[in-house]
Symmetry: C2
Subunit: 150 residues, 2 copies
C-alpha cells in the first residue's frame, strides 16, 4: 500500500475522531476498507455518546461494515494504535492490513499484529497525536476508563 493511499484512508478515520471529540466523546476514529479500497464502514468510539463501553472506534467501523463473508484483502485504519480488544478483532477476522495514525499517546498492539501476519503501516500523524494529547490532558479519568486502567 502506498503512503498516499494510507493517508487517504487515515483522513476518514480522523474525520470520525474529530466528530467524536466535538460530541464530547473520546476522539478516536476508524474505518474499514475493502480489497479495492472502497469504504465498507466507518465509526468512532461511542463510550460517552451511547454510554457503551464495548464500542471502541475499530468495533464501531467493523459493525458499520455489516456482515461480511470474509475479510481477506481488507484494511482497518485507526487514528490510534489498537488496544488488545481491537487487535483481537483484527486478528480473529483475518483483516489483512492495519493502518495506524499514531502510537505516541498509546502503545497498543500493532507490533503483535505485525508479528502475527498482519501488514501494518504505522504513520506518525501529528494531527492524530495532537488530538489525543489534548484529550488525555483534559480527561485523564475518562481515558483510563476507556482502556481499563485503574
Amino acid at each position: 500500500m502506498s503512503r498516499h493511499e494510507a493517508h487517504r484512508m487515515l483522513d476518514v478515520a480522523l474525520e470520525e475522531a474529530r466528530a467524536g471529540g466535538a460530541e464530547g466523546g473520546i476522539p478516536i476514529g476508524a474505518a474499514l476498507f475493502g480489497p479495492d479500497g472502497q469504504l465498507l464502514g466507518r465509526g468512532r468510539n461511542r463510550r460517552v455518546q451511547d454510554d457503551d463501553a464495548s464500542t471502541h472506534a475499530e468495533t464501531s467501523a467493523f459493525r458499520a461494515a455489516g456482515r461480511q463473508r470474509g475479510y481477506r484483502g481488507t484494511t482497518m485504519v485507526t487514528t490510534l494504535s489498537p488496544c488488545w480488544y481491537c487487535s483481537g478483532l483484527v486478528r480473529q477476522f483475518g483483516i489483512t492490513r492495519l493502518v495506524v495514525g499514531e502510537c505516541r499517546t498509546f502503545q497498543g498492539q500493532h507490533e503483535w499484529l505485525a508479528a502475527n501476519g498482519v501488514e501494518v503501516v504505522l504513520l506518525d500523524d501529528p494531527r492524530c497525536a495532537a488530538l489525543m494529547t489534548e484529550f488525555i490532558h483534559a480527561n485523564p479519568e475518562l481515558w483510563h476508563e476507556d482502556i481499563g486502567e485503574d
Copy 2:
C-alpha cells in the same frame, strides 16, 4: 472460585445461549459478574438477530454491564472458549476471572489468557458442547462467518 459457583455463573450464560438458539441465532451466551458474585450484565451473540458482526456473546455481556470504572475482581463466564476478539476484551479491561463452558467445539484463547494472568476455570459442560455441536452441524457457513474463517 468453587466449582459450584462457576456452574451457577455458567447457567446464566447457558440461558442466554439457548435463547439465542431459539431466536435462530448463534447459540453462545455470556455474563459478567462483579467481585461479590452479583450479575453485572448478560448477553448473547447477536450476529443474526441484529445483523451485527461485532457482537459476540462476551461483547454483549460487557456492553450490558454498562460503563464501569474498573474490572478488578470481575468474572466473565462464556459458554464457549473465547476467540481472539473476546479474549482481547478480557485482557484489555483486566477482567480477573474467566469461566469457560467448553472448548471441545472451538479452541479459543483461554490458555493465552491464563498465561497472561487471568484466572481461568475450564468446565467441560456437555450441555454447552451439545448446543454448539448441533448448531455447527446444521449451520457450518454461519459458524465460519462468525469466526472469520473462509
